[in-house]
């Protein structure tokens, strides 16, 4: 066990443990407290290190990498500011359940607590924004902790973890133990199999449902390709309509005949009305977020609710459910599909006829309609064209946060899981571009596009330098309307059209900016020139910033205004200036 071949320095142990956990890429930024680890990185070739320009970028890249591959994303930062800059992506990964391991350097153990240079209480600061974190004071504990960190990050409900390693521990010599030789912490043993009795109860409820709806979420993506496979099979077998949260897009194909589109605040009319009027709701790997439910006491008032989730604390958190099933989505759906097949003969398929007729009526309302223009590019049109010109390719899409994110969710059709990376829970502007860089690292031959807004993109634009350095041909497709569009939309709805600080008066020249970084800039202002410009972007084998000038004042509809129920949506053709101004009453104005 303690043979000399297993004796290594702490820094060597870090690299060995990463290799033994299957890591091929890490995203990081060096600094005083991680130099021993960087020295080891220099002396090996198995793991490629991507040098970012800001630690926030490293975190989002690791998130994009993880989300598009199903693997754990790894970031490496130094002590103090390196660690505090990692906080935003850690919280982002926590809210969207992304498996992330963040290794941070710390000042030597003898200096901890002395306000040393670049010291911060990393463990204290990151405690509430991680699933778990560790400060390693003993080099002989280091291998075990890193292996455990990978286990915690990717098992159960995935999430971010931090391993904080003081510099003296990186220098010290200790024993390396491989993952198989390490005992796991007994208190953390998540269950993946669902309770069969509960699944039977759910199937019995589904058999008699006359107005059922499936509401799926990011948990289906996290659970892996098997989960999406069983979800598709379940929809096929039951013929139930299906909607999804922002995080769950792609689990069921947008071209599928049972697809209702996304639900929630900017979801489709048919999805939200189906949720409101259903008699049985099957929530699969979603968490009844407030952007989904709208006014809670008016949320789907007449339905029995089945909730499949791996995290027991998600059950009954916001919405009371009737049949909770705790387990991994793939495992539970496999059982559910099997039970449904066994019961299929006794199911009357004609019972759903009226429900599908109602859904057809709602679909005919065409809630995503917008007024096309021959003079200016409508943002919705830009997304539609981008989709049409990329759909036959191997494409991955990321987004920033705001109107462009919602339009991308509404107008880009996702056919497969893991193709759509967006910051759902935390709503982090600046997420999309570094996430796209991470995706491109994992999929060097694929087309990776960050659909961005002109405000969001400026929050992590420095990673252009990283993309150029590593020859990562990421495409940034900016819907440039010169506003923080979603902020402005809310100011129009809630604050008497007083557009306080939501207009960017000094916008950079994005074409020149791309060129300054060594990338390629493209600008397009006319609808008639859009297709050619997009083709040019796709064919450019380098990072591109595409400055797509869109209608400045377009707003994102449909919308469930704050404090309203699913059946009180504001539809695009009803959203006149007056309706917009009066959409939210005094009570709703207090809300976010």
């Amino acid at each position: 066990m303690s043979g000399t071949e297993n004796q290594m320095t702490g820094a060597e142990i870090v690299l060995q443990a990463l290799k033994d956990n299957g890591v091929e890429h890490i995203f990081g930024y060096p600094g005083g407290a991680v130099l021993p680890i960087y020295d080891e990185i220099f002396q090996q070739e198995d793991i490629q290190h991507i040098l970012v320009r800001h630690e926030q970028g490293a975190g989002h890249m690791a998130e994009g990498y993880a989300r598009s591959t199903g693997k754990v994303g790894v970031m490496l930062v130094t002590s103090g500011p390196g660690a505090t800059n990692a906080v935003t992506p850690l919280q982002d990964a926590l809210m969207d359940s992304i498996p992330l391991v963040c290794i941070s350097g710390q000042v030597p153990t003898s200096l901890i607590g002395s306000d040393a240079f670049q010291e911060c209480d990393t463990i204290g600061i990151t405690r509430p924004c991680t699933k778990h974190n560790w400060l390693v004071r003993d080099v002989n504990e280091l291998a075990r902790v890193i292996h455990e960190a990978f286990r915690v990050a990717q098992s159960g409900r995935p999430g971010p973890v931090v391993v904080d390693i003081p510099k003296d521990v990186q220098f010290a010599t200790g024993t390396y133990t491989p993952p198989s030789a390490v005992p796991t912490q007994k208190s953390y043993q998540p269950k993946t199999q669902g309770d069969l009795k509960k699944i039977e109860e759910a199937v019995a409820l589904m058999k008699t449902a006359r107005q059922p709806v499936i509401y799926s979420g990011g948990g289906v993506i996290n659970s892996g390709p098997q989960a999406a496979h069983f979800l598709r099979e379940l929809v096929e077998l039951t013929d139930f309509p299906i909607t999804s949260t922002l995080m769950g897009l792609g689990a069921y194909p947008a071209s599928g005949k049972n697809w209702l589109g996304m639900l929630g605040m900017h979801g489709t009319y048919e999805a939200n009305l189906a949720m409101h009027d259903c008699d049985v709701m099957i929530c699969i790997g979603a968490r009844f977020d407030d952007r989904i439910t709208g006014r809670l006491n008016a949320f789907s008032p007449n339905s029995k609710k089945i909730h499949i989730d791996i995290d027991p604390s998600s059950i009954n958190k916001n919405v009371r459910v009737d049949v909770p099933i705790i387990g991994d989505v793939a495992a539970v759906l496999e059982d559910m599909v099997r039970l449904w097949r066994a019961a299929a003969k006794t199911v009357d398929q004609t019972r759903l006829g009226d429900w599908w007729k109602a859904i057809s009526r709602w679909r005919a309302r065409n809630s995503l309609a917008y007024t096309p223009s021959a003079d200016v590019i409508m943002p919705q049109y830009a997304i539609q064209r981008l989709y049409e010109l990329t759909k036959d390719r191997d494409t991955y899409i990321t987004t920033e946060v705001g109107q462009h994110q919602m339009w991308a969710a509404q107008f880009f059709g996702f056919e497969e899981p893991n193709r759509w990376m967006t910051s759902g829970g935390l709503g982090t502007m600046g997420y999309g571009f570094p996430a796209a860089v991470g995706v491109q690292v994992a999929h060097p031959e694929s087309l990776v596009i960050d659909i961005a807004g002109d405000a969001s993109i400026q929050m992590c634009i420095q990673e252009m330098s990283c993309a150029v350095q590593y020859g990562l041909p990421v495409k940034i497709f900016i819907l440039n309307n010169q506003y923080m569009g979603m902020v402005r939309q809310w100011q129009q709805l809630l604050h008497g059209n007083r557009l306080s600080h939501s207009y960017t008066e000094a916008m950079p020249d994005f074409v020149k900016l791309a060129e300054a970084y060594g990338g390629v800039g493209i600008r397009c202002e006319k609808p008639g020139e859009l297709d050619d410009a997009i083709r040019q972007m796709i064919d450019t084998p380098a990072p591109v910033i595409f400055d797509c000038r869109v209608a400045n004042l377009a707003n994102c509809f449909p919308m469930i205004p704050s404090g309203k129920a699913h059946n009180e949506m504001l539809l695009p053709d009803e959203a006149t200036d007056e309706a917009v101004a009066n959409a939210i009453d005094a009570k709703g104005r207090q809300l976010v």
Binding site: G124, V152, S187, L296, N297, P312, S313, K587, G588
Partner: protein
């Protein structure tokens, strides 16, 4: 509770609180590792839950297990969330709502005991009175000189409250309480 601080009609917490708040005692078995108490306390403050009393000590030295006893107040819905959120923490082995368990066993509440040290200024007739009352409460004198006593008293929190209230007019100087230790009656463990 945060729930009550939200403006009515909030999109974040819109359902009117119709359930009444209850006081429950939770036992939490955790690995005694650095920061575990901070995780538990941070969860309560971060999610807006109450802590009315908190007691913690390592109870199984070989296994490095600590038992945390928390008295908290919330609606049944919030109490269920507290239990689920605590169980989500990696070093937490088990969470038992002793109050719910006691009800299941047919008891009004679990056994709850607290120890307090009570320092009282005592001279003249107050001195005699303080001693007499301490005797009635089965508090023992663990330090004294001619003008003060330190009493040690053990019992239900209500008894300790009462004792402190009585000592106030007699010259109460300071009080230190341990917080509640609790377990259920009967042969079963948590």
């Amino acid at each position: 509770m945060n729930a009550h601080l939200q403006p009515t009609g909030s999109a974040y917490f819109i359902a009117k609180e119709t359930e009444l708040a209850e006081t429950h005692t939770l036992s939490v078995l955790v690995d005694n590792e650095p920061g575990v108490l901070a995780r538990v306390i941070g969860l309560f403050s971060g999610r807006g839950y109450n802590i009315e009393s908190l007691t913690v000590s390592e109870t199984e030295h070989e296994a490095h297990l600590s038992r945390i006893t928390i008295v908290t107040r919330g609606t049944p819905h919030v109490l269920e969330q507290i239990k689920n959120q605590l169980e989500r923490l990696v070093p937490v082995h088990r969470v038992v709502d002793l109050t719910v368990r006691a009800a299941g066993l047919g008891h009004e509440r679990p056994i709850e005991r607290e120890l307090a040290l009570v320092k009282v200024h005592g001279s003249g007739e107050h001195r005699v009175e303080a001693l007499r009352l301490a005797d009635a409460f089965r508090a023992s004198v663990i330090d004294a000189n001619i003008d003060h006593f330190v009493f040690e008293i053990t019992g239900k929190p209500s008894k300790i409250e009462q004792f402190i209230a009585i000592m106030k007019p007699l010259g109460l100087i300071e009080v230190c309480r341990t917080g509640i230790a609790a377990m259920n009656r009967g042969p079963q463990g948590m």
